[in-house]
Amino acid sequence: MYDFLEQNAIYVVMLTVLMIWAGLFVYLYRIDKQVKELE
């Protein structure tokens, strides 16, 4: 895995993008939970 990512650096960039969207997704999920509670 490490060697693959070392050789194909573009996948490291892809992983960082995924991390950012995962973080924003978690944030959205928490807002959604608050909305559910209000309902």
Binding site: A9, G23, V35
Partner: protein, 315 residues
Amino acid sequence: MWWKITLFIWIAVLSTIGIVTPIAGSLSDLAMISQWGTEKTIPVKFTVSDRGAAEGDGWLLHGRDTNGSEADFHFPSRPEGLDAAEGYLVRARYDRDQHRVEVAEVLGDYPGFSFPFIPGLEERAKIIFFHVPMSWMTVVAFLVAMWYGIRYLRKKDMEDDFRSAVSAGLGLLFCILATSTGSLWAKFNWGSFWNWDPRQTSIFVLLLVYGAYFALRSAIDVEEKKASLSAVYSIIAAATVPFFIFIMPRIMPGLHPGSADDTSAGPVVSSGGMDASMRVILYGMLLGFLVLYGWLMRIQNSLHRIKLKRADAAL
């Protein structure tokens, strides 16, 4: 509605351009890499100026890079579509004995649009479109938290306190994302996830400072007291933000691009440091994430208003 769709398309298109655009170096990059005596090949783009002839079992042609420098390019076999080709994007190394470029692999035709080759970063340089907006949004969100903190202290409006806390929360989210994406990048660029580089140390302190902000908020039960104390705290904390993000990592020598001893790629600050095309995409992504931040703030605000209305109705 339309601005939300536009925002999605904006971020999607810029991300795609940022990821897909090939990295292409010049002959001077090749010459520099060859000085290090490695067999390493790098992507180079050049236009064909003379279609050349067979040489041994390969093909030798003459080409010119974007800076106007010329060199002989030796291909292992006759390159495909040579008669019509304007130029090529190849992986190659410079052979100092033969004074020619040895092509290892043809990556494609001459790309009209490409990002420059940055030694030591290469493809990983593209992280700048995602990681840097995160840390800049951290700064924006913390400064907005300070702004609403000041407003709360002047007007004593609980709405401002709420906005200040939401903005600090978003700032913390962006700060965590900047740290974790940077740490992943560090694993491949520096060899380890965490090096206590000045940049990493300063963002770690920033995380602690704003972690303490939320610890402070959750420790106080009286709403007014919580609001005024956290407003004061957010003002003091925001005063440290420019220092930790913009100043300390730049005046200290370190591994991060833009450190005091970085001669090649102090991307955004140094004059002529970053390629114009990369700069446009970086600023475009910054704008995209800025609007996304505004959107999240708006959602939280409307949610808060509904909560208040419900509370009023319950009384």
